[in-house]
Subunit: 702 residues, 2 copies
């Protein structure tokens, strides 16, 4: 019976790959004739590949270290085995970890490869009109969506099939999930540093100092900037959602096993149907007669949501487990709340709404007021999402609590709400990856001199990308929020399994009491971690941008004819790409070490109870900061665009300059620090679950 669902999941995952292959082929065979565009496109592709190569190299050292650590300590320390033959679970754990990084990395590689082709094709297709251009951009993005969700579902299913048969537990899947998190840490935080380093430096020297337009080919950082869109927004975001998706499924599986293994099929069924819904949604995506790309993107999301609701409804009728409607209800609640959060969050960044208008008005008094009012709206913007997550968590817990009246059933409900929310993640990634592709296409159209009409078309595609991005980002953070709450349940469940195995029955925990000082201690420290983590990333961007600005200055000084735009004189683009790449990985290290190190310190001081509190503090402040930074960044970006559209004095006015300051502050907020917090929380949650055994044995207090 269970095998049937494994096979279903595998078939749908293979279907996703087939669709990705078909879409990639259709994008590749589109026309590209403009020599300049082709050559710049090639440079972007090479730059992105150079970053990936460098990232994978850095990651591989990291992976190697962790593989050894996992092998020695987990699921239980090597010296606790009776015989050498029995150590295979440890071997499996470290292989699962490797597999997690590889699956995520592979999806990123595929996505980047097609995204850096689709950008060229979109620019060229825009010559024929908005519809073919939209299709090129959308299909390029959909390849990433399908690759990410396909490989995550395939990896989880195959591994679970093997591991569950062998061990009857899903603990080893946490290794897979941790692998995905490691990849996400490098891809999202590292990519985020890369993209903003390049963006900020290009703007600082190009737009501010020299007054040359965005995407001007004389600017040595311009290719790095375009590469950054791909590595930050395509590969980084893909790895982030790969991570969340895997974590939500794994959390649900771990909880299902300790609740009632009869629920395992439900998890696979819903995940597979979510991917199926995304496949159909992508196939049905068309631009209507209106030629409105935003509507086309949103419609495909709504179609996917609808298909998921209907197909899971039908499937649930045929499922043969008790309490199945509670589970369905939890998933539907999760998904609905996700969509509502997306829409509510959009309010704070939409340039037709009050927040953007008010910030634009305040900017008339200078940049300090852009920052102050934007910060204030950013703070408030966290309210709907936090409220939504609170309601979804409470509702899904109370629903599934009725299954057997235990905490585990309630937490399983939350994990299924997360699975429901993430069911349409294939569609979300597609829409999200569409953004940088059309953004690149706009730059290429400018550099290739395709004329104002074409640039206008790519502009309208780009603007749709920004609008949709705001919604999907809110969605992604909310989904990550629910997932990490479920991971809190997973952590407790892991602690208890370990306690039982070790015969320490008095160590079994039924919860984490706020009034327990050890828990409280953990909460306060966990609460400050996301702030320190994002501060280190922001400082990293600053430092790295400084290096790149120096390099740009050097090139303009030392390369004769560059500033004047003399024919045949080209800047050394690759040097800027190199700085962005190396700096990104270097600046990422302190943040990563702080996150993992602080977890271990808290664990050794206060044991598993302190870690429970630590995770909670981390989730609450982390969610808030992620929402604040992402939304404030989006708000400032759109305020600048609103001014540029001719309001309050338009481009070049003092008000415009004030909003440029806001936009520059918002860039690392929304593209580096904000979205990396998701990953930080997941990494810390998984490290905690994995090391639960160790902290059960050694700790100072509590």
């Amino acid at each position: 019976m269970l095998e049937l669902f494994y096979v279903l999941a595998i078939i749908v995952a293979i279907g996703a790959f087939a669709l990705a292959f078909f879409l990639a082929k259709s994008v590749k065979k589109m026309e590209s004739s403009n020599k300049k565009i082709t050559s710049v496109g090639k440079m972007i592709k090479e730059g992105a590949n150079a970053f990936l190569k460098c990232e994978f190299k850095a990651l591989s050292k990291f992976v190697l270290v962790f593989m050894v650590v996992l092998f020695v300590f987990l699921p239980k320390p090597l010296w606790k085995y009776d015989s050498f033959v029995d150590i295979w679970p440890n071997l499996l754990m470290s292989i699962a970890y490797l597999l997690g990084t590889c699956c995520s990395g592979l999806a990123g590689k595929i996505g980047i490869s097609i995204a850096t082709t689709a950008n060229v094709k979109t620019a060229e297709a825009a010559k024929k009109g908005i519809k073919p251009a939209f299709l090129a951009g959308f299909r390029g993005g959909a390849v990433m969506g399908m690759a990410v969700v396909g490989s995550s579902l395939l990896g989880v299913t195959l591994l679970f099939w093997l591991v569950y048969e062998l061990t009857g537990s899903a603990t080893i899947l946490l290794g897979f999930s941790f692998g995905a998190s490691s990849m996400a840490l490098f891809a999202k935080a590292g990519g985020g540093i890369f993209t903003k380093t390049a963006d900020i430096s290009a703007d600082l020297v190009g737009k501010v100092e020299l007054g040359i337009p965005e995407d001007d080919p004389r600017n040595p950082a311009v290719i790095a900037d375009n590469v950054g869109d791909n590595v930050g927004d395509v590969a980084g975001m893909g790895a982030d959602l790969f991570d969340s998706n895997v974590a939500s499924i794994v959390a649900a599986l771990v909880l299902a096993i300790s609740l009632n293994p009869g629920y395992i099929p439900v998890v696979f069924c819903y995940s597979a149907l979510g991917l199926l819904a995304s496949i159909i949604g992508i196939l049905m995506a068309r631009m209507g007669k209106s030629g409105n790309p935003t509507r086309a993107l949103n419609n495909s999301t709504y179609v996917t949501t609808g298909i998921f609701l209907v197909t899971t409804l039908i499937a649930t009728i045929f499922l043969d487990v008790s309490g199945k409607w509670y589970i369905w209800g939890a998933s539907v609640l999760g998904l609905s709340v996700g969509v509502i959060i997306g829409i509510a969050t959009d309010f704070f960044t939409d340039d037709r709404r009050k927040p953007v208008h008010n910030v634009a008005k305040a900017s008339e008094s200078g940049p300090a007021f852009t920052i102050l009012s934007g910060t204030a709206y950013g703070f408030i913007s966290a309210l709907p999402a936090m409220l939504g997550i609170a309601v979804a968590a409470l509702g899904s817990y109370l629903l599934c609590y009725q299954i057997d009246g235990t905490t585990t059933s309630g937490m399983f409900g939350i994990s299924m709400a997360a699975v429901g929310m993430l069911s349409i993640v294939g569609m979300i990634i597609s829409n999200d990856a569409y953004g940088p592709i059309v953004d690149n296409a706009r730059g290429l159209a400018e550099m290739g001199g395709l004329g104002d009409d074409v640039i206008e078309i790519t502009d309208s595609l780009d603007s749709a990308g920004n609008t949709v991005k705001a919604v999907t980002k809110g969605f992604a953070i909310a989904a990550a929020g629910l997932t990490v709450i479920a991971l809190l349940g997973t952590f407790m469940s892991e602690v208890n399994s370990a306690a039982i195995e070790m015969g320490k029955l008095d160590a079994i925990i039924t919860g984490f009491d706020i009034m327990d000082p050890v828990v409280f201690f953990g909460i306060l420290i966990g609460g400050v971690l996301p702030a320190v983590f994002s501060a280190l990333l922001i400082l990293g961007v600053n430092r790295n941008a400084q290096r790149m600005v120096d390099e740009i200055h050097r090139q303009f000084k030392e390369i004769p004819g560059l500033k004047e735009g003399k024919e045949g004189v080209n800047p050394e683009y690759e040097k800027c790409i190199d700085i962005a790449t190396k700096g990104a990985l270097k600046e990422l290290l302190p943040a990563g070490i702080t996150a993992i190190g602080l977890t271990l310190v808290v664990g050794f001081v206060g044991g598993v109870k302190a870690i429970g509190g630590f995770l909670l503090g981390n989730i609450v402040v982390g969610l808030f900061l992620a929402l604040f930074m992402s939304n404030a960044g989006g708000l400032w970006d759109n305020t600048k665009k609103y001014i540029e559209a001719g309001h309050h004095g338009g481009k070049g006015s003092d008000t415009h300059k004030a909003t440029v300051v806001g936009d520059t502050v918002g860039d690392p907020f929304k593209d580096t620090a904000g979205p990396s917090i998701n990953t930080q929380i997941t990494v810390v949650s998984l490290v905690s679950s994995l090391t639960a055994v160790i902290f059960l044995s050694f700790h100072l207090f509590g």
Copy 2:
């Protein structure tokens, strides 16, 4: 026996009043001859009094409403009494509430009254040298310190004596504490909006648009700005620390009663000795031969700390209760951690340290980088305080847990750590109130044309005020942090007393479990409240500043000769004061209503468990935001001053302009929103404790 300690506390409190009286007299009889200074000083005094009058008027309506509500519902609803004669506890509760507002208001009134005299005297004394000027400023501030701590200790002691004899409980003291919180909400948040409205508008039109110096008498907002220093930093800060001080003592008393009434004398003894230490510290404050005002201020703090440690050590030897050394240890731990937090926090705002230097360097690239790097350091600056609070809470809990091994004993330990940390609050307030007095004196010296030498002296006094302020602010937030943790214990204790009285023994709670979805629901919503609260205050400042800027423009346009500084032409200062006053109280309302309203909503949805979570989320995010905003604001302020001292191009350079943007952003951060969060948390904690009974009877889930 207990009466002895009441009498001790009362005598020390009266001693504080006597010292305040003596200091006030000595300040008043100092010379003031300069006519211009006297007349401007008079305007400031009148402005401050006008604000206080308006504030008290607005507050009195609020107080009236709450008195009725408290009378009807608390400690138990009127209809639950058997006979009309028995309702006196409800009457007492509403009188206690009134008393709380009055004691705090009286202290504020006394403090403001002397501060607005001392500023004139300090300016004049500076003609004779730094020592007499320092003495005038310090004594003026000390009056506020003595008035606040004296009246809080006197109020609590007398009320407790009465109430405890009558009811055997300290619940009614929560009403007194809530009264102090209500006053703090108006004084701190309202005063904060007032001061920043005036400051920002004066700078925007004066310095930025017209290029006239700070404190130029032509600027219609200049008096409002000076008034703002007094109402925000003297009265507001005083009410805030009155509130924290009362809350910490009341929390300790409530917990002592439910643990072992034998500990009540310890609470009074330590509080009285803390005040005594501050009295001696103030009497011993002298400026050494070095003429360094910072050292003089810090030395008096260290002297006070030392005296507290020694006198409590001796007193503890003679105290006749078991486990007394645990309690002493907890207090000492609290105080030591407070001092360490103060010093560590200073690192992030000190202009001789790396953070200020790095932000100054980053500012060379423009204001966006001032904001980004300042935000990053602000985030990191929360780490030492959060860590310190975590360690103090854990340590003091574990110490006192050994008394009888119950949660109550542990929470009593935390409350005694808070009492220890706040023991030197008299000294802290004195140092803090010194700041605005010498700041005012600097402005008066400028307006009165006392010459460069005198201005230099007032400048060095002012700079010492800023340095000390950074330390005391970190201290105040940490103390508030520990106090609200203790209030969490008080809340639980109140819930249980109510449950026992209602015969609902199954409603007794031993803690709040994170894994309980109702608690989690509360945590997420409590976490977002401080953000929304501070956002509303910041938006309020923006809106109000806009009104005042319009008024300043009008005056410069409509009053002939004003801009040119024609002899005898004066701006209409009182109009600006009026706008600041009315706007402050108007803009405060939405924030206050949101805080109290959200508490009630969460309580009605999830009952006392949700409120427990709500308080926790509120504390964690609130502490973080308060620390971030206060420290980032201080950092930006000092970075600007560092540039003005001639670094990175000095005054007038682009780097300087960038740091001015940072300073303007930081102003409402550090003087409005950041410090108001303390008050918000305390208000919410007390509302929760007071309404515990109601939520025990009515709620939807959990």
